[in-house]
Symmetry: C2
Subunit: 468 residues, 2 copies
């Protein structure tokens, strides 16, 4: 790959082409695998995704979740136990019907999600109230036979997936879990600098089998939403068919109430789309495979000295706990700048002749390209770099929040809706008839009721009291 | 689970029952999943496996490997390109034939190994000699329809698998890779305290499609081998059907030479079987989820003070970088000892009234149950614990090496073979006819030629010069 060519596509001109080009040039995934929608993770893309996973693991484990891993295959008879769930997934499931030269007695589903793999086992794990709450999660691939146009990280057929599952004594305790999950999302999304809407989905759009669903939607630069996560309250909808019961303090057998919490590689799609610019990726520091790249500008006259200094700096920064790369390749500095800009490394440190002579380094921020000179001997180098990284995180969040705001249009009357482009913020009484009426007003769907907003707005259809 | 009951089975009386009981009571995996040979990883078992993975990642990345991830599914036409490979796997492959309500045009294999997923893409990645060597690995699940009796971690149908794949300019460069892989194994197995045999497999037992295969076999307490890893030289056997070519310095298109390196969750099986004792697991410190468990022995009179001291110690040990658990549950100390012994935690620290009064702690080793008293204020606590952990690693290795030695019987004449039980060390000229003859002498197979041994032994069949 000729790394000196900057991006050919501009984000503001063609978001899709720009998005695909960034993915290719930053080496996130290779889409040439011979199955559509199943892509190969390059090591750089995989490293970012694994950092996202690690961050998520930390957040959920602090809240009492334990990591487990269930098999990929689910026997058809287990898969078919909850009617709504089957209806929601039957068009999307891959089926294994043969093994070796034999036809299997019972076809096996490739998990599209793991309720039906986990719950037969939960019915063995949960015996008494002292086993509750049960909180487990897994990070693994799920499979969905998407028929619509696929897009890397956004709509794929093999999905890198996080799914958390809980069991509780009753409805209220499960409600508390939903609240905790929302708190996890708040902390987690802050580290990614991704703001999001939090909407209780309308009845006709909830997860297959859920009592209710909360969608967590990021707003992309094209003013469309990207569901980066969802939290569901299942009530006892699954515990009944899967027989997950516990003996309560009063000696009675009761069905557990359940919740789930799902996220996927769409998080990465959101990060690319929302933070990226016309020079490529811009990575939030907490998930960047390298937070700092050191580029020595080598002049023949001082090659060895500058190389030596760059190595000393590398070791010092590694010792301070940063993820750092020293780019020693035999390339022009400009090529290296392009290379690491496309890959979104938050900080570049340049050491050239000027820096060498003056005993300092030049720090260049990826988000603003602002330059800072720091004395090499400064004892504050740790706090200076930490501050810059934190400022990058804040700045990305600020810009993403502005983008989200721009994408949302407040509507008071139904006549205003017709030709608007973006996410509409309007009153809705919550009744299905009005909701479906709203959806008919334009080419869009209802995300749901804003869970964060306490505001009341009258329904734009029936004018009765409603929510946002 | 009543945690006060020690193991019911004795290792020396019934290895299989003991092995299954340890897996269940230490909560490594749950075998009650409704598909035979596909088990559920409990969080404790998963944590051990992930520590093994992390150790392996470190070793291979130091040697230039990069992590990637390929899809689980492989189109049948890609799968069927290398004849020997197909023959080796056709009885073991799960086939996806349907998706949603449609029958697929091309059936999709669940990867039993990833040659046929990776190599069509390698043919795109490799263009010129400057792309070589290509060294990638992935850690993911593979699927094999085993018809023999399954056993947790040892023979399962969904296998947690490490596979490394390389491409080289020529045969010799691939040979060097094999040497490097053997070095990785040496370092890695030392951290697990697992010694192993290193045998070039006979022609009829090499990997399907390989030019030659080296098996890495641990010796289990029943004197049977457990193949914990294998390294293969493919020559250009795969690069020809998959068209992986590069332009050499002389401008000519040449096929690459390839190697692979595989390991699996059998490593965990070896660790359980080889190091475990009649109180449960004994974990090598580098992969133990907790290296230290602190058990405060709480007397009513000094409950708060001892609790406080235990917490201070916890924080101090965490700061020093150890993985530590403070067991604050309301249980008798004896129950806690059993609980953590079954789970193989290398070091237990007891703080009771005596320790409290004398301002010290009692350190108990899991492998020897040897006790050491250490002054709480000792500035050497870091080095004392480090030394003990290293000594545990060495001691486990020593015992495992003795076990391996006991399992190997040297045989000079074919008449001696008949009723021997174990691994036989004998001369073999390397000819297939003599090899097959040897296999007929007893109920066993030939592991291959000892790669480490430089000794010459005459063939026990034809008496010609041969190798061990």
């Amino acid at each position: 790959m000729d790394i000196e060519i900057p991006l050919e596509n501009k984000k503001e001109e063609s978001l899709t082409d720009w998005y695909n080009e960034v993915i290719e040039k930053a080496e996130l995934c290779d889409k040439r695998y011979p199955i559509k929608g199943m892509n190969v993770w390059y090591s750089y893309g995989l490293a970012i995704m694994k950092n996202i996973d690690a961050l998520l693991r930390k957040e959920v484990e602090e809240m009492g979740y334990q990591e487990v891993q269930f098999p990929v295959l689910i026997p058809k008879n287990e898969f078919m136990k909850e009617a709504e769930h089957i209806k929601g997934f039957e068009n999307y499931v891959y089926w294994v019907t043969h093994a070796g030269k034999n036809e299997l007695d019972i076809p096996l589903a490739l998990r599209p999600t793991s309720e039906t793999a986990m719950y037969p086992i939960f019915s063995l794990w949960v015996r008494s109230h002292s086993d509750l709450p049960l909180r487990v999660y897994q990070i693994a691939e799920v499979f969905r036979y998407e028929t619509k146009q696929t897009r890397a990280f956004m709509r794929v057929r093999e999905i890198h997936f996080f799914e958390a599952h809980t069991c509780h004594t009753d409805f209220e305790d499960a409600e508390k879990q939903v609240e905790e999950d929302l708190k996890i999302m708040e902390k987690f999304s802050k580290a990614l600098s991704i703001p999001y809407l939090q909407c209780k989905r309308p009845e006709w759009d909830k997860f297959a089998g859920a009592f209710y669903s909360i969608g967590l939607d990021a707003v992309m630069p094209n003013k469309k939403t990207n569901q980066i996560g969802s939290i569901h309250h299942y009530k006892d909808n699954f515990s009944r068919p899967y027989n997950i019961k516990y003996e309560d303090l009063d000696g009675k057998q009761k069905y557990v109430h359940q919740t789930t919490y799902g996220m996927s590689e769409r998080l990465l799609g959101a990060i690319i789309g929302i933070h990226g610019d016309n020079r490529g990726l811009v990575l939030p520091p907490k998930i960047a495979p390298y937070q700092i790249v050191i580029v020595p500008v080598l002049l023949k006259s001082h090659k060895k000295e500058i190389e030596k200094r760059a190595k000393e700096l590398l070791n010092r920064l590694l010792e301070l706990g940063f993820r750092v790369k020293l780019d020693e390749r035999d390339l022009r500095p400009g090529s290296k700048y392009y290379y690491w800009e496309i890959r979104g490394v938050p900080i570049r440190i340049e050491i050239g002749l000027k820096e060498f002579m003056e005993n300092n380094i030049t720090i260049v921020r990826r988000d603003t390209f602002e330059k800072t000179n720091v004395k090499l001997k400064s004892k504050n180098i740790l706090s200076i770099i930490k501050d810059i990284l934190e400022d990058i995180e804040r700045n990305l969040m600020k810009k993403a929040e502005e983008l989200m705001k721009e994408g949302i249009i407040e509507v008071r009357k139904k006549e205003e809706i017709a030709n608007l482009d973006g996410i509409l913020r309007a009153g809705w009484c919550g009744k299905e008839e009005c909701g479906l009426e709203i959806e008919k007003l334009g080419d869009f769907g209802i995300l749901g009721i804003d869970v964060k907003s306490k505001e009341n707005m009258n329904c734009i259809i029936c004018n009765e009291k409603g929510k946002v």
